[in-house]
Subunit: 218 residues, 2 copies
DNA sequence: CGCGTCATTGATGTGCATCAAGTGGTGTGG
DNA sequence: CCACACCACTTGATGCACATCAATGACGCG
């Protein structure tokens, strides 16, 4: 990332400790005091927000190398829950330490800004998805995004083991779990993917891509 | 905001110039090189993203005192369009200058982080809206949010002049313009608001609030 | 004054939600 | 080691909220 060895040392300084989170338990919850950002070392998380009346929305799925907790900065309180979907380990990075160090290390400062901006852009994309896409388009976009991120981490481009339930996928995509299930089945019928439980194999990436950007085509 | 006079001087230093934008023209566009953030002095903007196939989604409406351009940081390119919905003026704040100064002025650094985090939290809320609310709930939430922000700027709590078309509201809320129009009409029938063109008067704020958080009630 | 843009309202269609039944995989305790 | 219970998932039948299509009306601007 273009850092001098000296800078690298400083960056490691932002990690105060590590923390293990069991599958199903939360790293932080809505209302919790904000102190730190968390870099995921291993494992898989979802973040979700809830409204007073009990509605619930998954706002993202995060994997190794990604940072969560940015929502807490503005009010010194977290506004969403971060739940581990499998046993996980995170680096705890106290935010005041991050701010302190990023005053000295330009590249760290830059890095922090980019992480936050990237999250804003990602959410813009989700808004586009939720606001204007149909069920098939949403699921296709979801699958493509997932394999792309996994591939960047050295995993297969065509095989995914979903860490989340159909209901969680549905919540993220603004669909009901039955619709998610039916749409998976349709993709299978069309020969685009194979599904066995949570194992998904993508047979035709281009077909998925076509589904995503085509309002007209079935 | 708890700044010393010296710090205040430094903060004004981030403003390189001002720029006027005519109604209907863009402050920046998807693909434009990112150089600066913009603080809105006067006027009203929308930001919108587009997908390759021509789909279009309004991602936010911004008014005086708010900052736009954060989407450009991550890739040094803007990923959305910012369009003035009325004649506007912005402060141009070159981002490298912001980074430079925020290394020296802690409160500025903190401020920048909060602005970005606030945007992330706002978008989380929009995702909840798009993913789980019905048309009436969406529009009620939209109106409440709008008057709340206007009220914080010294305007009426009960009267709004909409700066955007029904279509733009619909795009933001994931609805078609006809649905927005019909929902306005329903609120009028129910005695919750008065509508005359783009002038909206809120007669019963509590009713709007009830609509927002109640999955069950009609 | 006439045209273009924006908004309203009605009639009809459809994509997804909802309700409901059944299957299969997994984990647990007898 | 098997029986049972539980949960996630699939699939079908039906309904509804919103989209779509279409006609008309109200401003505002040149």
């Amino acid at each position: 990332m273009g850092l001098t060895p000296g800078e690298l040392d400083r960056i490691e300084d932002v990690v105060a400790s590590r923390r293990k989170i069991k599958r199903g338990s939360t790293l932080f919850r809505n209302g919790d005091k904000f102190t730190s950002l968390y870099a995921i070392r291993t494992g898989f998380f979802k973040t979700c927000v809830a409204s007073e009346d009990g509605r619930d929305q998954v706002t993202g799925f995060q994997m190794a190398g990604e940072v969560i907790g940015l929502d807490g900065i503005v009010n010194d309180n977290h506004t969403c829950d971060a739940v581990a979907l499998e046993d996980a380990e995170v680096c705890v990075m106290p935010f005041d330490r991050i701010e302190e160090l990023s005053r000295e290390v330009n590249s760290l400062q830059r890095h922090v800004h980019k992480i936050m901006s990237r999250e804003i852009v990602r959410e813009n994309g989700v808004m586009l998805l939720l606001g204007s896409m149909r069920a098939e388009e949403r699921l296709a976009a979801f699958l493509l995004n997932l394999v792309q991120r996994l591939h960047a981490r050295g995993f297969s481009q065509s095989e995914v083991v979903l860490r989340m339930t159909r209901e969680e996928i549905g919540s993220y995509l603004g669909l009901k779990l039955e619709t998610v299930s039916r749409t998976f089945s349709k993709f299978v019928d069309d020969g685009i993917i194979e599904v066995k439980q949570r194992h998904v194999r993508i047979l035709n990436t281009d077909a998925l891509r076509e589904i995503v950007n085509s309002k007209i085509t079935t």
